[in-house]
């Protein structure tokens, strides 16, 4: 939206500006004053699209370019203890939201994993085969579990953002 306004501003000024050399400065000023707005909008959008959303089963999903990366939260990895094995689905597996898609074995137990969204598994984190401890060490980054397509983007709205999830965890202690 901000970009369109900027272009209109430029074209209007440009046609009028041609005979007068002083005008181009005005055009640039016009562009410059709008650019911070554009940048702010773009920056906010990319933060939103890279932000984590959480389920009440302590899985997170991060959406980037239409692909959801899934992992477990810090709360979950602490509760699990040292992960010794990651049982993940095959690429191509179709999952419904809340469907069991795998299991993490730790000293605590074999704990089932539930899909945060409906979609198809496109990639699994093969580093976890030899290094399951990544889930504990870097649960939000290198310890990701699977990547999947997002068949129903509206499901993302049902998930908690970071603030809501922090509140949710606090309520569990009581």
């Amino acid at each position: 939206m901000a970009m369109c306004a900027a272009l209109r501003c430029v074209s209007t000024n440009f046609s009028a500006a041609l005979p007068l050399l002083s005008r181009p400065a005005h055009i640039w000023t016009c562009q410059n004053s709008l650019r911070p707005n554009i940048l702010r909008t773009l920056y906010t959008s990319s933060r939103l699209s890279g932000a984590l959303k959480f389920t009440d089963k302590h899985e997170w999903v991060r959406v980037e370019g239409g692909v959801g990366t899934v992992g477990i939260s810090n709360f979950a990895q602490e509760a699990l203890g040292d992960v010794v094995y990651c049982g993940l689905p095959e690429v191509g597996t179709k999952l419904e939201q809340m469907e069991e898609f795998g299991v993490l074995e730790s000293v605590k137990a074999a704990s089932e994993l539930y899909s945060p969204l409906t979609g198809e598994v496109t990639e699994i984190n093969t580093d976890l085969a030899d290094n399951p401890g990544l889930v504990n060490k870097a649960c939000h980054e290198d310890g990701w579990l699977v990547k999947m397509t997002i068949e129903k983007p509206a499901e993302l709205d049902e998930l908690m953002d970071e603030v809501a999830y922090e509140k949710f965890i606090k309520s569990l202690d009581s």
């Binding site: 010794v84 094995y85 074995e105 605590k108 137990a109 074999a110 704990s111 085969a129 030899d130």
Partner: protein
Amino acid sequence: MILRLSNRACVLSGSARLKSTLSTYFDEMGKAGIILKSASAGIFENLALEDWIHDHVDLQNRSILLLWRNSPVVVIGRHQNPWQECNLPLMRRLGIPLARRRSGGGTVFHDFGNINMTFFTSKKKYDRHRNLKVVTSALKALRPDLDVTATDRFDILLNGHHKISGTAAKLGRTSAYHHCTLLCSVDRSILSSVLKSNTSEVIRSNATLSVPSPVKNLSDVDPTLDADTIMEAIASQFNNEFGFDSPVITVDPAHEALMPGIHKMTNDIQMWEWIYGKTPKFSVCTSLVVDDVNIKLDMDIKSGTVEKCVVEIPEDWLPPETVNEFTSALNGSKYCPNEAAVLVAAFMRTRSMSADVAGKIHRLCEGVLSVM
């Protein structure tokens, strides 16, 4: 007091208005704690019973203890490799089946001298230490001088040294179960021979490994301790520890009307795809000696199926084309001696070969089967 639930179920199914399942029966009972004993000695029925209770019974405000025993069987953990954990050829010869459970942990041998206990709770009330305290307190109530203690690894040790119980657990959506074994009078010579793999050195895998421990039976230190006495004591202590007052209720896991869906669950965990197919990807790398010839064998197995099979054989012993055809026959097949034998036999039938070559292929096949 022992209620035979299977009898009561006959009464229930006779009435048109009642459609009681085990779950609704518990709701009607209205008790916060329930003790069950399985009427079956079949591992698959008992594992299915565990799954059914976990999936169908509301455990948010209720805890259940299930006591069960099985005829001889080896049970591996969810992410284990049976070829690494036990002696499959020996088990086949002895008629001892293999089962894979849904919980984590290591490999165990069950027979009637072993008691299994499953503690079902909500995830909030999941407390393995407290459950093990039920067991150790029960044993000490029976024999005050008995030195039994639970460790940080949730084992129970006798005299601080010998393992008499191991633990495994599963966490689901809203509930959890913790199960453990208890060695009362198990056949220890069979236990140690079946739990020693014949091929572990040739396997490379990231499957979870068992932690071997020296074991002992409770009957070794006190021959008057038998499984029935111990089960009664554990049931009683469960009531004491948690303030419950449940009788021991016998349940028949074959009763589909009482537990709808349990037959399918029982079938599912007997399938090859579950028991063997769920083995994490692994590779086998070994040297065989056939007719004094050194043969290198390299196989990758995924989902229990041979993904790659490479055999290095001196060219003067067998022609390379024959060797390639042999390995192609095995590619894509189940990593299973019966299936491999059938495929190789079919392969040999469809090709004309001299008796000499046929004999060599036969002996090569035997060598390959020996690691399955």
